[in-house]
Structures are given as C-alpha cells and as structure tokens.
C-alpha cells in the first residue's frame, strides 16, 4: 500500500526531492536542463529564482504535459523540424548554384564588353593625341579644356552602345581630384558613390582590369540603388595622364531571376514541410489509433467490462496486436467467469446446505427442547441424556453457524453493511453480554477510553461479533484476572484493544490463533464451547471492513487483541491509535519472562517508549537482527504467514526460559505471541508506512486485508 503510494503516478509532474544539490558537475547540470528539469520543478537555488522559474513554467506546463503524453504530437513536430532543416539546406545549395550560374554568364559577357570598351578608350586617346599633338596640356599641368571635353565625349560614346545594359564612369586616378578632371558618369549614375573604394585602390596600384560587386547609386535620390557588377581599369587620356574607367553592369535582371527562384523554392519547401508533417500525422495516426484503442479497451477491461474487444481489420502487425489483445481478453473473461461460476456455485451450495441442514435441525432442536423441558418426569439416565442432547445441540448449532459463516466468506458472499456507529455502544453491549460469564470466572471487565465518541463506518453486527469473541476469549483465558477493553480514535482509524492477564501466548502463536480449528494445546480439556472458528471469523470480519485484527501476547503475561478499523469504509488504514503491545507488557516494564527485573546488558529495549516514531521504529528493526538475547534463534517464517491468512509473522523468540506457570496450557481457542514484543507498537499514531513494513519485519501482527 505504502510502497505504491510512494511512487508518483504517471503523468504527474512530481518534484524530485532526492536530487543531490551540491557537487553536480556542469555537464550533469546541463543534462538536467535538457531532461526538462527546469520545467518540471528541479530548479534549485534561491527562492527568488525558483519563484521566477515557477512563474515562467506555469503557462508551459500544459504544453509540456501534452508533449510528454502525445506521441503523435512528438512525431509530427520532430518530422516538421527535421524536414524544415533538410529543405533549408537544400534551398541554400540550390540558390547558390543558380546564382553562380547566372552570374558566371553575366560576368563573362560583361568582361568582354568592358575589355572592348577599354580598348576603344585607349584607341580614342591615341587618336586624340595624333590629332592634337602636344598642345593638349597647359604648361601649368592642368588639363586643358579639350581633354575635359574629350573625356565627356568618351563617356557618352562608350555608354551609347549599351543603353540600360551598362553605364560608364570615369574617375580621376589616385587622389588628384583637384586636377580638374572631375568624375563623369553616364545614365545619371553617381560616380563616386557607386564605385567601391577598395576597387579604386586596387585599380590605382595595378595596371590590369579588376572587378567587384557593388550597388549603383543614382544622382537622383528617389531612384534608389540596384546591384551591379563593376569592372574598371586605369587608362591614359590623350595627355598621357591616367584615369580610371569603369563599366557598371546592373544585375537587376539576374536579381529578379534569383528572387523568383528563391520564391519558388520557399513555396515548394513550405509545401513539402507541411505535407511531410501531414503525412507523418497520418502515418502515426495509423499506428497510434489502435494503440490508443487498446489502451482504452484495456482500461475498460480492468474496470470490469469484460466483453470489451478491439476492432481488428486486416492482417498487419496492428491487427496481430489486436488479435492477441482480444485473445488475452477472452481468456481473462473465461477465467473470471469460471471463477465467478465457481464462487456462485459454492455460494449456492452453502445456501442450500444451510437450508437443507437447518430445517431438520430446527425440528430436532425443538423436539430436544420439549424433551428437555419434560426431563424431570424421566428416570435419571434418560433425563441426563436429554440434557446432553440439548447441550450438544447447542454446540452443533453454533458450529454449523460458524461453518456456514466461514464458507460465506470463502465464497466471497459476505457483504458489508457499513454505517456510522459509535463503538462505545457496541462495547457496552458486548461487555454487558459477557458479564454473566465474567462473574462466573471472577473477572472484572474494565472499559477505558470511552469518554469521547468513537465513531466509525462499520457493520455493527460484525463488529459486535468480533468484540464479543475477543471479550469472551479474554474472560475465558484470563484466569480470573481483570480484562481491560480500551477504545481509541486517531487519524483515520479507530481501535478497540482487549487485554487480559492470563496465560498469554507462546512464541509464534499470535498468528496461529487465527487459524481455523487451531488449539494451543490439543490435549487440554475443553471447558468452554468454542467452535474453534471464532477468531477466524473475526479476522474475516475485520478484513471485510478493510481493518486489522492483530494479536500480541507473552507467556504468562497475558495477551492483547486489537481490532483496528478505518474511520470511513473506503479509507485505507495507515496505523492504529492503540499500540499492539500494551504499555504494561513485561518488556515495557523492564521485566524478563520470569517476572524479574532485568539487569544491565543491552536491556535498553525496555525503555523504548511504546509510541515510537517511524524513525525509531526503523531503528528498532535495524537492531533486531543482532538478537536481543542470548539463545535467540534465527527468525523463521511462520508457514501460516501467508497472504490469505492475513498474518505476517516472523517468530523471533529467544525465550527459552519460561515461567513455570506459563508453560502448561497456554490458551485454547486463542493463541500465541512472541514474548518479547515481536509486535509492532508503533503501528498506531505514526501515520506512516511504518506499520505494514514493521509488521513484516518483527511483528506477530496480523493484518486484515
């Protein structure tokens, strides 16, 4: 029970408290980050950071949950991301290729155009020289008016060949813009801004042609710029002075083509990605739908709707899954219905036997009573026979009733009729019912803890039967000493403990008392009319309530039987308000089995408080293997400690010394107990999972479950 609840349910984003905080390496920290710790509550550090992280991750939580739970979403998103990457890579490669192809042709054409242009410029300069001779340059070194004119003509003539296909720009060589040969350009191009400085420098230092990409800037501001290839060369004017001649080839057309290609590729890529996502969605759906169906069907099956089946179409793997699943479901259904039939048959049988036996028994009973009434008229032998007949009929009746009750439990036909009852009422009735017997035995029955109401949802008839059994047993085995009935309520549980100070229980007997027809000492004469089934029925009654019925005892020190019930019927029990081992047990009083004060060695156990906390309890169980006393035998599992028995027992007693008075005849219909508190006092009040575990470790405790 507790083990299950410790594991966080799937889908719950539980914190992970056990994570080491300190010496985590950076790598592991990163791994945690990728694990999604950051989003799942694994944030460590200052409260402020944690607060911020919580605030950040709150809106993300539903998304994270969807991500964790939905495989279809995972696959589709992964497919989308991966295909997006592939398409992007492919797009870049294709665009690069296209651009290279387009530009290569353009560059070649431009180069030949420019080479031609440079040749023409050179030629015209030579012509001009031959026409004008040496008079082109003024003595002060300034370019003459004719050179300026010549250059303008040159630009016009060169550019006239390619209206719109290219523009021509001249720039003065080097930094001598002051020489008067200002920059010129065709087609309204801003000459200085359109030629990159790096290219000008390159041309100024070399003699060959060079090229570069640039943007053409126009003199008119609102015309915008356009990409271009610029090829330039340093040539001489008619005066022999160098100047730079550039050809600018606009790449508008190429850019248009390229953007067309880009657009097409992007559209196609988008389609591909979306289509791939859709395909992935469809494909995954084919697989996931049957899986989800299987999950749904399995859930309904486990909810008891056994006729649920999966739809199977085709012969593929999914169909095989469906077939196997259906086969499993069918076999389950078959087995369950077989068991149900069996149970029904047994129930029917019990019911029939009950009826068939009881009707004649009623007749016999009445006849015996009539005879018994009239026994005074008979001779002594017949009269005594009539008495015996009546007495044994009583016994026979109660045996039959108990047998039928047990088989009703075995057939699973016992039904709980729980309603809120005050256990004090029940105890009062039980005690007053047991008074006559107690008086005969010279026993006083004390009730403790009945100041407060002790209310629980329970079946009054069954609880009363259990308590009557416990009290009557305690009185019968109490050897005339007091019997204490203690009530308590705490947490989600209520408990009634019945303590006697009689012969007690021998080691290992604390579980066997609940076995059917078990007797502590078969040789012992039977003085009371117990059927040997009382405690078995009581255990079943407790179990039906989801409660516990446990026994503790020590030889010669009496015993305590404790019934623990959950306060509400559907609540699991976690502990009991009353410790199983009473405070006045020998061990708790620090006495040994002979009733003598224990001496020094390691007898600290006697001071262990009865209401230990869970931690102390664990410590206790850790100490146990050391063996509390010399002569302690190794723990041996009791064969009756099977789940069906409800008993978890390791008999752990080293009590070889036994009081003389305790040895003969421990109790009859009841049982046995590990002497030195093999019980589990901490079961109550600790409210944790210590009780069941402890019960297995060191208890004679019996768990009704």
């Amino acid at each position: 029970m507790s083990g299950d609840s410790a594991a966080s349910a799937p889908g719950r984003s539980g914190g992970r408290p056990g994570r080491p905080v300190g010496p985590g390496t950076a790598a592991s920290r990163w791994r945690h980050l990728f694990d999604g710790d950051l989003l799942q509550g694994g944030v460590q550090g200052s409260p402020v950071v944690r607060l911020v992280m919580r605030w950040v991750r709150r809106p993300l939580l539903p998304v994270m949950r969807l991500w964790r739970r939905n495989i279809q979403l995972k696959v589709v998103v992964t497919t989308l991301l991966m295909s997006l990457g592939v398409v992007l890579l492919l797009g870049f490669v294709v665009i690069g290729q296209v651009r290279n192809g387009l530009l290569e042709a353009k560059v070649k054409a431009s180069q030949s155009q420019a080479t031609g242009g440079f040749a023409v410029a050179k030629q015209q300069a030579e012509q001009a020289v031959s026409v004008t001779g040496e008079e082109g340059t003024a003595p002060d070194g300034r370019p003459s008016q004719s050179v300026i004119q010549w250059m303008s003509d040159l630009v016009a003539s060169l550019s006239s060949g390619g209206q719109g296909a290219f523009d021509v720009v001249t720039l003065p060589a080097g930094g001598d813009s002051g020489s008067g040969r200002g920059p010129r350009a065709s087609g309204g191009v801003n000459p200085a801004a359109s030629v990159p400085a790096a290219l000008r420098e390159r041309i100024g230092t070399g003699t060959g042609a060079a090229q570069s990409y640039t943007r053409i800037v126009y003199a008119e501001k609102d015309k915008g710029s356009q990409p271009a290839l610029v090829i330039g060369k340093q040539v001489n004017d008619p005066n022999g002075d160098p100047y730079q001649l550039y050809y600018l080839f606009p790449l508008t057309q190429e850019e248009k083509s390229l953007s067309l290609v880009k657009g097409t590729l992007a559209t196609a890529g988008l389609f591909v990605v979306v289509l791939l996502g859709a395909i992935a969605w469809l494909v995954v759906r084919q697989v996931v739908t049957p899986v989800r169906m299987a999950a749904g069907v399995a859930e309904r099956l486990s909810a008891g709707r056994l006729q649920e089946r999966m739809k199977v179409t085709g012969e593929d793997d999914i169909a095989r899954l469906g077939e196997a699943f259906n086969k499993m479901a069918q076999n389950l259904q078959l087995k369950i219905s077989q068991l149900e039939d069996l149970s029904r048959m047994q129930r029917r049988f019990v019911s029939d036997v009950s009826h068939e036996l009881r009707t004649p028994l009623t007749t016999v009973r009445m006849a015996a009573d009539v005879i018994h009434e009239a026994r005074e008229d008979f001779d002594p032998v017949t009269a005594r026979s009539a008495e015996l007949l009546a007495d044994q009929l009583d016994r026979f009746e109660s045996l039959l009733a108990d047998l039928l009750e047990i088989s009703r439990f075995d057939a699973g036909a016992a039904a709980l009729e729980a309603e809120p009852i005050d256990l004090r009422e029940v105890v009062r009735r039980v005690v007053s019912g047991a008074e006559p017997l107690a008086e005969r035995k010279g026993t006083t029955i004390k009730v403790v803890g009945d100041q407060q109401p002790v209310v629980a949802e329970a079946d009054a008839r069954r609880v009363e039967r259990v308590l009557r059994n416990l009290v009557v047993n305690a009185v019968e085995h109490g050897e005339g000493r007091d019997v204490v009935v203690k009530l308590a309520a705490a947490g989600g549980a209520v408990a009634v403990a019945v303590r006697d100070y009689g012969v007690g229980l021998k080691p290992g007997e604390a579980t066997r008392v609940f076995s059917r027809f078990w007797r502590a000492d078969p040789a012992r004469a039977r003085t009371t009319g117990g059927t040997g089934l009382g405690l078995s029925i009581a255990l079943e009654d407790a179990r039906l309530h989801g409660g516990w019925l446990q026994a503790w005892g020590e030889p010669g020190g009496g015993s305590q039987f404790r019934l623990t019930l959950p306060r509400t019927a559907d609540e699991p029990l976690r502990g009991s308000p009353i410790p199983l081992e009473p405070k006045d047990s020998r061990r708790n009083r620090g006495l040994d089995d002979a009733g003598l004060q224990r001496g020094g060695d390691g007898e600290k156990r006697a001071t262990v408080p009865v209401n230990r906390s869970g931690a102390e309890d664990r410590a206790q169980s850790a100490r146990d293997p050391l063996g509390p006393r010399p002569g302690a035998t190794a723990p041996t599992a009791d064969p009756t400690a099977l789940p069906g028995n409800g008993a978890r027992v390791v008999a752990r007693s080293g009590s070889t010394r036994m009081t003389p008075g305790a040895a003969p005849g421990t109790r009859g219909g009841t049982g046995d107990g590990a002497p030195d508190g093999a019980d589990l006092p901490a079961a109550g009040g600790e409210g944790g999972d210590g009780a069941p575990r402890g019960a297995e470790k060191d208890g004679e405790a019996t768990r009704g479950r």
Partner: protein
C-alpha cells in the same frame, strides 16, 4: 388471548413439531404446506398471526407474504434458513414484520409470536401528532388532513413509539426493544427496512423525510410537528 396461528411450511416434520410447541403454549395452529394454497387458507382461517417459511413449493414465501400483506395487516413472522442480508431484507420488504432464523429454540419462537400478538391489544385512548399527521392510538388510525393512511400494526406501533416522545432520538436498539419486543440487541436491519416502508406510506417525499427523521450515526426521531 387470541391465538390462531397459520403455519405455512412444506416440511411436515417441522410443521408437526411447530404444532406441538404452539399447542403446548395455548395457540391454535393450522397448517398449509403449499404456497399456492396459502392465501386460500389464510382467508379461510383468518389467523391472528402467520408463520411463513420462505422456501416453499409452488409460490415462494416472498410472494405469499406480499399477497397476504396486500389484503391484511396481520403480523407475519418469517421462518428463514438464510440469514443472508438479501433474503432477510427482501422478506422484510415484502411485508413481513419480523423474522426468525432456523434453527431456533421453541421459547424464542413463542416469545416472538407473543410480542407480535401483544401489539394488537391494549388500546389506550390517546391522540398524538407527528409532523402534519394525527394519530388516534385507540382507533388505530393515522390521518393527514382528514385522509386516513393505512398502516400495518407494526408500522403503526413504530410511528406511535416515535410520536410519543418527539424530543427523543431513538437508537435502532431501543426501537427493537420497544416495538418488536426484543430483549437483546438483534438485527437492526429490521428497523431500517420498516422505517423505509413506513416512510413510503406517510412521507410526502420519502427521499426527504419529514415525519421520521434520520439522526446520522444515532437513529431516528419524530419530525417537528
């Protein structure tokens, strides 16, 4: 004292034995072994009480019980071999006032029969009010706005017991003792079933009872008048 008892049981030995015991206690038993003939015998003998075995050939005991209850308020005590919840509750719901589980002791049976018969006697002139009901104890009638409501003697006793002490909360055990005459605590299902039956007759809305109010965890009390 009136003492005609109709024994409906198919087991001849048991019927004969019942006859011996009942005659010994001063009752006048008559017998019928078949469920189909039970109703006719009932009309013919007009018993003061019916002892009815639940398992009968022909019509089963539950059905017989329902038929008798449909035309008479005569006390019916079921004999049952099954103490299972379902059987007992079904028997009580079909109209039986009490039940006794086989095997029983003769004294127990006789005590139960006497308790049921005693109820039908001792009329005391008394007028009680519970909720909007007016109870005439002597006249054995319950009226709401002049409309008379038909109750069996047991249901009437139950209502009167509650109405006599409207300030008191009755535990089921106390009701068992006062109405059924049990000395020791017995099956409280008797009380539950009969309270349900009573409510179905006297409450305006049995889902929200105003006459017989449940006090959770304790028992029942009369509603405010």
């Amino acid at each position: 004292m009136k003492g005609r008892v109709l024994v409906v049981d198919d087991d001849s030995a048991l019927a004969e034995m019942l006859g011996i015991v009942l005659r010994g206690e001063g009752f006048e038993p008559s017998f019928v072994a078949d469920g189909d003939k039970a109703l006719a015998a009932f009309r013919e003998t007009k018993p003061d009480l019916v002892l009815l075995d639940l398992m009968l050939p022909g019509r089963d005991g539950i059905e017989v019980c329902r038929l008798i209850r449909a035309e008479s308020g005569v006390p019916i005590v079921m004999l049952t071999a099954k103490s299972d919840t379902v059987d007992v509750v079904v028997g009580l719901e079909s109209g039986a006032d009490d039940y006794i589980v086989k095997p029983f002791k003769p004294k127990e049976l006789v005590a139960r029969i006497r308790a049921r018969l005693r109820r039908s006697e001792e009329p005391a002139p008394e007028q009680l009010a519970i909720g909007d009901l007016v109870i005439d104890v002597a006249g054995h009638s319950v009226k709401r706005d002049g409309q008379s409501i038909a109750l069996t003697p047991l249901e009437f006793d139950l209502l009167v017991a509650l109405a006599r002490k409207p300030w008191q909360v009755f535990t089921r055990e106390v009701l068992l003792e006062q109405v059924w005459g049990y000395r020791h605590a017995a099956d409280t299902r008797l009380v539950n079933v009969h309270v349900q039956r009573l409510r179905s007759k006297v409450e305006k809305d049995p889902e929200k009872p105003e006459i017989v109010v449940t006090v959770r965890g304790v028992g029942y009390k009369a509603g405010p008048s």
